[in-house]
């Protein structure tokens, strides 16, 4: 294994473009090192991007949104003075990844690139409408978070491409988001089902809605009908019923050691209701 610690993204891209065999980007390393230790993946090329300028920064974007550096760890996001207030669901979701120790290392972009369908931060980021900047030999492009994972452990990133920043849209007035997951214990588990909901309200009426589910399909699943079910409602029981039905219909899970198809599908409905209620209360409070 060759270890590189480039000073710029251009340098990192050049190394990744020219590398043979398996290449991994090292930021928090909480997935890469586990895979190495368990003999699942031993990269031929490991590119540590933490020496690149700006990767540890959280900055307010011109549009009022946020740009989060790719080496910013979960704990740094949770401790930020403004971000948790504006995007509580996203920050909670990131904060649920692993233990306190893992929070000191793990990054949301790493969580995204690991491409686990159960990644905690991803449903919340998808619901929030987050994007990433992907930079490669052909220059940078902005990509919606939901378009990065293509299957368990697989992403749409091409050879030589690296994610260089994570972008959250401006929160704006009347917006609220939430994320919850189901796990058997209270901590340290992989989500059996995760659910992120992001709403905007005007008065009591929902005007915008996005929902995404984790661990119910090969990739985190954006439930596109959520807006139809919720916009124009005051989150009455009928709206919650419709949302829960949509969530369950969106499920295409597998039976595995962490949960059965039936159990995951059932939970998707339960969590759609629970999380939507929290997001709704937050949105109403944010007017």
């Amino acid at each position: 294994m060759n270890y590189y610690k480039p000073a710029t993204f251009d340098e990192a891209i050049a190394i990744a473009s020219g590398a043979e065999g398996i290449t991994r980007i090292l930021a928090g390393g909480t997935d890469v090192l586990v895979q190495m230790r368990s003999d699942i993946v031993t990269p031929d090329t490991l590119i540590d991007i933490k020496a690149i300028d700006g990767v540890k920064d959280i900055t307010r974007a011109e549009d009022g949104g946020w740009t989060i550096g790719v080496a910013v760890c979960g704990a740094e996001i949770s401790e930020h003075p403004d971000l948790p207030r504006e995007w509580p669901g996203v920050v909670e979701a990131i904060g649920l990844i692993g233990s306190t120790q893992v929070q000191g290392r793990a990054t949301p972009v790493g969580n995204l690139c690991n491409a686990s369908p159960a990644a905690d931060s991803v449903p919340a980021l998808v619901a929030a409408g987050a994007e990433v900047t992907v930079q490669g030999p052909n220059g940078p492009r902005r990509v919606a978070v939901e378009d990065i994972p293509t299957g368990p452990g697989r992403t749409s990133l091409q050879k030589g491409e690296i994610i260089t920043a994570l972008h959250l849209p401006p929160r704006g007035k009347g917006g609220g988001d939430a994320y919850q997951r189901f796990i058997p214990r209270t901590e340290m588990d992989i989500a059996v089902v995760g659910c992120g909901v992001n709403l905007r309200v005007s008065g009591q009426v929902i005007t915008e809605a996005r929902m995404a589910l984790g661990a119910v399909a090969p990739t985190v699943e954006r439930v596109r009908g959520a807006a139809d079910a919720l916009v124009g409602t005051k989150l009455e029981d009928s709206a919650l019923d419709a949302l829960a039905d949509l969530a369950q219909a969106a499920c295409n899970p597998i039976d595995d050691k962490r949960g059965t198809v039936k159990f995951r599908t059932h939970l998707a409905g339960v969590y759609a209701r629970r999380v939507a209620k929290i997001a709704y209360e937050r949105a109403r409070a944010a007017q």
Partner: protein
Amino acid sequence: MKKIHVTTKINGDTVEFLCDPRETLLDVLRDRLGLTGAKEGCGTGDCGACSVTVDGRLTCSCLMLGVEAEGHEIGTVEGIADGEELHPLQKKFIEYAALQCGICTPGILVAAKNLLERNPDPTEEEVRYWLAGNLCRCTGYDKIIRAVLDTAAEMREAS
């Protein structure tokens, strides 16, 4: 495989070592530097027995490569006591019998100390969630949580 030279600070002392890039910080601490206080319970970040601080932030040393330590400050259980004077947490852990076999104790002490530095007055729930990544199989956590809460109270009184 060519080894890489790394300079870092451990418990306040500058340390240099050579390591294979595949070696974790835990491997380096234990096998190259003789700091065996951090334990490997799982190697996958699930048990917390290898907990250290990196620039003051709590981390599993099994989830970090040795080469990543370059230029950073590492804190281990060996650096918790002040010379011959035990840290209040260490004293309380003995007093409360907050350990039985003691294998998880170094990691839990590093984690608990880091908590109290950030939050001198944690609730029981905050302590339990902060330490959720530190598995203990012997105690059922009861005496550990009590020891941490009582240390916090005592340190608040003292300051």
